[in-house]
């Protein structure tokens, strides 16, 4: 599975600059809205599903080399956060769907924790 397939199948909006998403493969999936838990619990290279849109998601994603952050329930990071994500090479994806639904679909696609 690659990030492009995830974007297509889950109908995600790409908030940051496009990349060669076909060549990026997530190692695993993780979810939490508490950034301290993400820092302690997410594996390197994961896809991270959260409804937290605060600017600190970029710092945490960069630290863990998260392959993509899926921001759920239509929560929208501000422009400064999106700029910072572009600078750091962090991919931010958005969906109006809930974290529960997104995680279920990722699991169906074969992604595991």
């Amino acid at each position: 599975m690659n990030i492009q397939q995830v974007i297509d199948q889950l109908e995600l909006t790409v908030l940051t600059e496009p990349k060669d998403f076909q060549s990026i493969q997530p190692s695993a999936g993780y979810t939490s809205d508490l950034l301290s838990c993400v820092m302690a619990g997410a594996a390197h290279g994961s896809i991270w599903v959260t409804l937290q849109a605060h600017g600190n998601i970029v710092a945490v994603a960069a630290l863990l080399e998260i392959t993509a952050v899926i921001i759920t329930e239509g929560a929208m990071p501000d422009p400064a956060t999106i700029n910072k994500a572009n600078q750091e090479g962090v991919t931010l994806l958005s969906t109006p769907r809930s974290s529960f639904e997104i995680i279920g679909r990722l699991w169906e696609m074969g992604l595991r924790a």
Binding site: D33, L34, L35, S36, C37, V38, M39, Q52, H54, G55, N56, A59, V60, D78
Partner: protein
């Protein structure tokens, strides 16, 4: 210059999680009994009981400054402190526009009571106060500063509603005046656990939800218990200063 012990995080019966003993005359009496001469009333997302506590303190050496413990979008609690009720009310009006229209469930969350200076019942606040305003922590900090208040993220070390648990690290562009640590750890332990705290002044509070929780460990050397003096003391400017006394309990 005066030396004052302060408790800048005190709830009243307006906060659903506070004990029913958190009534204006008892708050005033307990603070005075403990030699605390400066307190801030900081109910969750609300300011309606501040005037009553101020009235209850009239004629005593206790100063009550208006405040609010605002819960922002990130589910982080923040102390927003002001000099005047007018400032606090302007802030309240702004916060109200960003609070969800949910009703309190007293059986589950607790009662939210507005009282007079004697502690007598005036009304129930129907709107749910213990929830997040749809405002970012940065927006809130900016608004407090526009209104000339002081912004202090509350109990930053706590797992529930603390800045560090929810946001992992202190946001780069957050212009907080200080950070508050909870009563459960010593300032030295806090700095050891969270080295990032070194770049901010620290205060420590009892987060007083019941009368026995006053700790009054913030010792300020100031000309008067005002926001301008608080700001100077936190920065150790113009001979003002602040330190956290060690807890004896």
């Amino acid at each position: 210059m005066k030396t004052l012990r302060a408790e800048l995080h005190v709830h009243t019966v307006l906060s659903p999680c506070a004990e029913l003993e958190m009534l204006p005359p008892l708050i005033v009496q307990t603070a005075l009994d403990q030699g605390i001469h400066w307190i801030a009333i900081t109910d969750h997302n609300a300011t309606a009981n501040i005037a009553a506590v101020q009235k209850a303190a009239l004629g005593t050496p206790l100063t009550i400054i208006p405040g609010m413990e605002l819960q922002t979008r990130e589910e982080v609690h923040n102390l927003c402190l002001f000099d005047t009720l007018e400032q606090a009310e302007l802030f309240q009006n702004w916060v109200n526009q960003h609070l969800p229209d949910l009703e309190n469930q007293p059986d589950y969350f607790g009662e939210q009571l507005v009282v007079d200076e004697a502690g007598d019942f005036i009304r129930r606040e129907p709107r749910l106060l213990i929830t997040s305003a749809d405002l970012s922590i940065e927006q809130a900090c900016q608004k407090v500063h526009q209104l000339d208040g002081v912004f202090i993220p509350a109990h930053v070390n706590r797992k529930a509603f603390g800045l560090l648990a929810n946001l992992g690290l202190i946001p780069e562009d957050l212009n907080a005046d200080a950070l508050e640590i909870s009563r459960h750890l010593k300032p030295s332990q806090a700095l050891q656990q969270f080295p990032q705290l070194k770049s901010f002044p620290l205060i420590q509070s009892g987060d007083v939800h019941r009368l026995e929780e006053f700790i009054g460990v913030n010792q300020f050397n100031v000309e008067a218990p005002t926001i301008a003096e608080l700001r100077k003391a936190l920065q150790h400017q113009d001979g003002r200063s602040h330190r956290i006394l060690s807890l004896t309990t």
